[in-house]
Every structure is written in structure tokens, then in C-alpha cells.
């Protein structure tokens, strides 16, 4: 499902961007829902609202202001247009250093942490309670059930690929995602790949 808005965390705060082509009533409804479910989402940070290329009427903006005020403990709320909000300069963010890849041929167990400024390939399982951190891509030839962070340092092109992708938490660059609460761990025994698309982490089947 395409969400009516997306979040991005920058060095200065959080940015909400409204997607184009979605009706105001849906935006209003989803935003309302988010403030109810996650009212502390923006605690202690500045919140930038990016109206993107959409036109909003004064009434609609009033409505948005009214809803976002339900977020608790937000520092300041700003309106910004077309990502005029302060962002980290993308030129500084590099992928893996020297495009190197580290191969690890064993199971990574709970409490073990693997961290390299490269791509990482693991031939084995990554168990819950373990952590894999790479500045580049992460490939797991086995079951991925722990916490992984690809593109650590801000490389948004990074990808995570596993024969069985069922992570506790999956992070790419500055985005964090976790599996939905209501679903049982995915029974799909097909390789899957996670990457960033439109500011969201998406997972899709990977055909070898």
C-alpha cells in the first residue's frame, strides 16, 4: 500500500513529505491515525512538514496543523517546500570504502556483532539477538533473523539480501523498519531483497 506521507530523519530533525496524487481526506485520515498510534514519534526533535508539489488550501493547512499538534513533545514545527528543509549534503555520504567485501563463513549467534566499513557476505545464519552492520550491502546466504544495518553512515543505495529474510529489525542508511506485529514470521521460503524506494524500506522477492 502506498502511504499518503513518508518520514525522513535528517541531522536537523524529522521531515514529513506528503505524496502527490493522494486525496486530502486520505492524508488527513492517515496522519490522524499516525498521531494516535505513535504520538511520541517526534519527541524532542524539530518537525518539518514538506508540502511537496501539492496545493493546500488555508483550511487544509489549518487541519494539518491541528492534527500534528497531537504529537507529543515536538520541539518546533516548520513548513518547508520541496525539501528546502536542511538535509545532510549527499555528496559526503559514501558507500563502502574501497568497495571491499568481507566474507564470513559461520553462523552469527545472539550477542555477536559483525561490523565492517565494507559490504558483508555471510554464509550461514544470522540469529536473533545478533547485529550485522555494514556501510555497504549485506548478503546472507542463510536465514536472516537478527538486526541488520546496511548502508550505515548514510549510503541509501545499500541493499540487504537473504535466502530467508525475517529480521528482528532492518535498517538501511537512516531508515529503520521492523516486521508487522500481527503477521507470523514469513513462511515464504524464497530469497528476498530489501532496499530504499521513495524514502521507504521495501522488500521484494529476489529471483536468482
Amino acid at each position: 500500500m502506498k502511504s499518503a506521507f513518508s518520514f525522513e530523519i535528517t541531522a536537523q530533525g524529522a521531515v514529513i513529505t506528503f505524496e502527490s496524487g493522494i486525496s486530502f481526506s486520505i492524508i488527513q485520515q492517515e496522519l490522524q491515525q499516525h498521531t494516535e498510534e505513535a504520538k511520541n514519534f517526534f519527541s524532542g526533535v524539530d518537525l518539518y512538514i514538506d508540502l511537496a508539489d501539492r496545493k493546500f488550501s488555508i483550511n487544509q493547512i489549518d487541519k494539518i496543523i491541528e492534527i500534528v499538534q497531537n504529537y507529543k513533545d515536538v520541539k518546533n514545527i516548520y513548513f518547508a517546500r520541496n525539501h528546502t528543509s536542511p538535509k545532510k549534503p549527499t555528496s559526503k555520504i559514501k558507500g563502502p570504502q574501497k568497495r571491499e567485501t568481507v566474507f564470513i563463513k559461520r553462523t552469527i549467534r545472539s550477542g555477536q556483532k559483525v561490523k565492517y566499513p565494507t559490504n558483508i557476505v555471510i554464509m550461514g545464519d544470522v540469529n536473533p539477538g545478533s547485529e550485522i552492520i555494514a556501510t555497504g550491502d549485506i548478503v546472507v546466504i542463510g536465514n536472516l533473523r537478527g538486526v541488520v544495518h546496511a548502508g550505515a553512515g548514510g549510503y541509501r543505495e545499500a541493499e540487504v539480501l537473504a535466502l530467508h529474510l525475517d529480521p528482528t529489525q532492518l535498517r538501511i542508511a537512516d531508515l529503520i523498519s521492523r516486521p508487522p506485529e500481527d503477521e507470523k514470521s514469513s513462511k515464504k521460503e524464497v530469497p528476498e531483497k530489501a532496499f530504499i524506494e521513495n524514502n521507504n524500506i521495501v522488500v521484494e522477492e529476489y529471483n536468482i
Binding site: S43, G44, G111, V147, I176
Partner: protein, 263 residues
């Protein structure tokens, strides 16, 4: 100003983490503001029992090393707005935190919270010393086994030496049938050995295994015997005078016995 309570036992596997999760939940159900701290650095479990594992971004070590603010380390519970978890780090060990850092952290949390409940690791080494630093009160969890009672006794002595006085005991995993047959230590014998106040008893209950695996504390469901027991204990912590629950199962058979006036 809140109260800091450590849940400890000496012996492993007696139900410290289960007790922490359930007492925290039961107190939150009574609208108290509660923060649970997992002091078992390197072997964390409380996050799993609470069903919050996949929300961890920062942990207690990040907080004391100032990689993040305290509020960033605290995970809000899924079910209660006023229940928080400060998870342990999994990839570090007990030496990552010192007792004085723990004390500082607990003092800060006590200003905000009604209760700060610290889940202690098994053992009597540094992890235990961290867990008892800065607490006002101790609850000792034990089971009706000679080894668990022996370890509980040792812990009571260590707590006294550290100036944590008047601990209370929770006896966990009691099987009524075995006590009745005389195959399990009975409550009075245990209290006589430990010579401390009994805070509550918790019957052995299969629901605990189910709830632990699901990440939903059993205290949420007062229909279960263990859930009711933990809620009773929470009420006693709150100062209410609640009688100990009877160990007899309300089975069809015992109800029938009551009806025909046999018991």
C-alpha cells in the same frame, strides 16, 4: 519521587525476568508510571518477554556512554503509554556499566517514574552489583527447591551487606499437588529458613510459557492463575492488603467436591 525495586534471586531460571515483566505490567495496569531496566547485559531477555525486541535502537550501554539521551533509550510499551523498558545491550558484557553509573541512572528515572524495576542477572558478580546499585527495595524470587532457597538466602545476606534491607520474597512455580503430597518444600518451611516477609506466591502455570513466547505478559489476563497472582503482588506493592491466593485449582472436581460438601 518514585521507588526503585530490584528483582533478584541468585539462582538462574527461577523467574526473575517473568516477574519483572509481569509486575511492571500489573503496576502499569493500575495507572502507575513504570520503567523496567534489564540489567542482564549480554544475555538480555526482558525485551523478548515484553514483545519489544524489534523496537530496540539504543540500549542501557548507549545511555550510560552518552551515545543517546535517556528518553531515546527508553522503549514505550505497546499496550501502556506509561510503561517503559530500558533494554540491556546484547553485544557487550556486564563490565560495560558500573554500579555508580547505574545509581545515577536510577536516580534520574525515579524523578519521572512511580516505579523503576530492575531485572537482575543470575549470579552474585558484577551484574548483580550493578542491579542492586541505587535501589530502595529488593524482591527475591525463588522456587520451592532446596538449591533456589539456598541461593536466595545467600542473596539476602549480600543485600544486607550492601545496605538494601528488608527484602521480600516471591515464591514462584508452586505446584499445589506436589506440596500437598509433601514432595515439594512448603511455603512455611521456606519462610522459616529465609526469615523475610512473604510478598506473594505464584502457582506453576503453563500460560507463562505461552505468554513468554508471544511476548505478552500473563498479568494482562487476570483469568490465568499466574496472571492473578502477579496482579495480587502488584497490589501488595501498592500497599493494599490482599490475602494469599489459595493453591487449590478451581477444577471441575474441586467445585464438585464443594457442591456436595466434601471440602
Amino acid at each position: 519521587m518514585g521507588k526503585a525495586i530490584v528483582i533478584t534471586s541468585g539462582k538462574g531460571g527461577v523467574g526473575k525476568t517473568t516477574a519483572t515483566a509481569n509486575l511492571g505490567t500489573a503496576l502499569a495496569m493500575r495507572d502507575r508510571k513504570v520503567c523496567l531496566i534489564d540489567a542482564d547485559i549480554g544475555l538480555r531477555n526482558l525485551d523478548v518477554v515484553m514483545g519489544l525486541e524489534n523496537r530496540i535502537v539504543y540500549d542501557i550501554v548507549d545511555v550510560v556512554e552518552e551515545n543517546c539521551r535517556l528518553e531515546q533509550g527508553m522503549i514505550r510499551d505497546k499496550r501502556f503509554d506509561d510503561l517503559f523498558l530500558l533494554p540491556a545491550a546484547q553485544t557487550r558484557d556486564k563490565s560495560a556499566v558500573s554500579p555508580s553509573q547505574m545509581k545515577e541512572l536510577i536516580d534520574e528515572l525515579k524523578e519521572e517514574m512511580d516505579y523503576v524495576i530492575v531485572d537482575s542477572p543470575a549470579g552474585i558478580e558484577q551484574g548483580f552489583k550493578n542491579a542492586i546499585a541505587g535501589v530502595d527495595k529488593a524482591i527475591i524470587v525463588t522456587t520451592p527447591e532446596v538449591s533456589a532457597v539456598r541461593d536466595a538466602d545467600r542473596i539476602i545476606g549480600l543485600l544486607e551487606a550492601e545496605g538494601v534491607n528488608d527484602p521480600q520474597v516471591v515464591i514462584n512455580r508452586i505446584v499445589a499437588d506436589m506440596v500437598n503430597r509433601g514432595d515439594m518444600m512448603n511455603i512455611n518451611d521456606m519462610i522459616e529458613i529465609l526469615a523475610i516477609e512473604l510478598l506473594g506466591i505464584v502457582p506453576d502455570d503453563e500460560n507463562i510459557v505461552v505468554s513468554t513466547n508471544k511476548g505478552e505478559p500473563v498479568a494482562l489476563n487476570e483469568e490465568t492463575r499466574a496472571g492473578k497472582a502477579f496482579n495480587n503482588i502488584a497490589r501488595r506493592i501498592e500497599g493494599e492488603d490482599i490475602p494469599l491466593m489459595s493453591l487449590e485449582e478451581d477444577s471441575f472436581f474441586s467445585k464438585l467436591k464443594k457442591m456436595v460438601g466434601l471440602s
